[in-house]
Amino acid sequence: MSLTLSHYLIFSTLLFMVSLGGIFANRRNILVVLMSLELLLLSVNTNFIAFSKFIGNVDGQVFVFFILTVAAAEAAIGLAILVMLFRNKKTLEVDDINELEG
């Protein structure tokens, strides 16, 4: 019995659940929320690659390439916003960042 598509689907489902739970449960540090987001994208990418390989169509892998690009851009801008937020508020706790000023 060799590796099947179901192996990869189950694996990425589990990883998705872990990171989704992490996003909701984590209230101490907004950085960890960003990292959970990266994990979420990783599990989606795993799904894309598995389907691409088992169907035999390369388009899914090209899609993963673009997702990686956008995720890198998102991480850079997200961290920049976070640095600014920390300069202004002196905290990264999710519950403390609860006010908008304008």
């Binding site: 989704l20 890198a72 850079a76």
Partner: protein
Amino acid sequence: MTPELLQQILFYLFGAIAIGSGMAVVSVRNTVYSALFLVLCFFNVAVLWLLIEAEFLAIILVLVYVGAVMVLFLFVIMMLDVKKVTKSQLKSGYTRAAILIAAAMLVELVMLFAYRLQNQLPADELIRQGLEYSNVAEIGMALFVDYVYPFEVAGVILLVAIVAAIMLTIRKRPENKQIDPSKQIHVNPSDRVRVVSMDAEKGNGEES
């Protein structure tokens, strides 16, 4: 040991480490450890991608994510002087909600895979390619022939990200000897140097 068995063993080994380190990412107290566990998770998932012959993306994952994005994360974590978290990262009330949401989604996905998509999933056997097959060449053909415009748009997105990140984080420092480019452009030569024509002074004869 047959190759199939070896693949299974590698899949379960690295998959278990990946999920375990994913759990550590969301639950460990120290943010630096959390980032390092994320690096471990990326490495293990890259191995899983290698197992189904997606070599290019596995290498890209390690280079881009571990090499660039996670280093950025670690830099930011260590630069921001976050006060030490004494209690656990997780708050109990939120943890319960999170488990509930995750379980609900898990049930939905399992039902989707098990019942709705049962007959529509593609064949379970991976088509193994020969030695002359090149994953990079295949992706390159798709990327630069069918997806040229999205590829260039991706370049623009990265440029926008660079500009946005710099604009957000740059600080004006008082000791910085920066000059306003607009002022530089609008300077006339006549504002700086005035050429005065005047007769030469008569010497007193002392210097000759």
